[in-house]
Amino acid sequence: MFQVLKNFYHKLGSFPWFYKISGKVIPIVGFFSISLIVISSIWGLFFSPTDAVQGDVYRIIYFHVPAVSVSQVIYYSMSVAAAVFLIWRMKMAGVYIKSLAPIGAAFTFIGLLSGAIWGQPTWGTWWVWDARLTSTLVLFLFYLAIIGMQSTFTSRKSADTAVSIITLVGVVNLPIVKKSVDWWNTLHQPASISISGGSSISSEMLIPLLLSILGVYLFVFFTGLLFMRAEISSREQNKEWFKKLSSNN
């Protein structure tokens, strides 16, 4: 069992293997993820029942919740990759962080924006300085810092190391930010808004929501592979295996 895992780890670290496999996997994952997103969106937008309290606007949930949840999961996965890169110097982990950062930033942006657009008609305000929103904003800043850090170093390896350090600093910092905003709010006593909704959600609304979450996760998997493939293609374009592969195509 251990041997199988070890083999898999070594294969995962090999660029030619990844490039070959990802080329086969991408169309399949892409097809499923896009169709899932389309199905769940249509289901959520047109066929799920209208919310008794919020009306139709609640349907933003089918975009907001998946985006926010995936934006955090991406960051946590990146911090795992950062640790792997710093400890075992696995090049693929560097590729992973660099590739997933723009996707994470995009979904954090979608989450923040859809939250604001949702909040305006529902609670009468675009933005609240509570712990969740603030830490999501900080998460967005960290994504931007990670993307911006890429160009600061001349050596690819140095850039990957620096980005790994920031990613880990961020994963330590985010809970601290969340906690400290909580402390801060107890003094400032903000308007009593509960973003978490509170009321239990009916199954007719829940099924498309779960489908959309699944769809977005698959979509991140799909675009993640795409971005990693693109990154490998530019890092390895002078390598023999890449020249051979692309001239055969």
Binding site: S155, R156, K157, N238, K239
Partner: protein, 192 residues
Amino acid sequence: MLKTANLSYKFDDKYIFSNLSFEFANDSVFKLVGDNGSGKSTLLKILSGIYKNYEGELSFPDDNLVFYSGHKTGLKNNLSPRENIYFDIRLPEISHSQINSVLDKLDLIDHADIQSAYLSEGQKRKINLASFILSAANLYLLDEPFNNLDRKTTDLLLEIFDLKINAGAKIIFSSHDRSSDDFPLIDMNLFN
């Protein structure tokens, strides 16, 4: 003895030089030559300990005391030449009379107390040279020390080389000038 065995250095995936095996005997001057980008500066930076991620082996003598001088001199523009030498982190504690005599030798004594920003490039190199003269290291790594120097200072530098060698030190310096002098050459082009 300073020795390298199969020393290689790569930047990302591209080797700057590879398989450099060499023994640097004591009491001598070595001259690194080679084309631009052949790794002269890189080798000096590896020997000085600035670059650590080389491949192969590198062994130093036990009493190793390195003096490194690169393209960038580490000179502070808002300190005077005197202060720059006094606070040079490569030097042990030195007295002001020592500094004065060196500055005198280099014709810098008139400029000793103005801000270094007002000096010419050649004069700035001379300040760095002053540190080299005052240093008591036993391994000197100098990156293009003869650049920007006038005739007189060049001769002085060669004299200092002799003094250091007689004191038992060794000097490795880089140059893009292959001609003249009788220093043993290390041609970096051979290791690309």
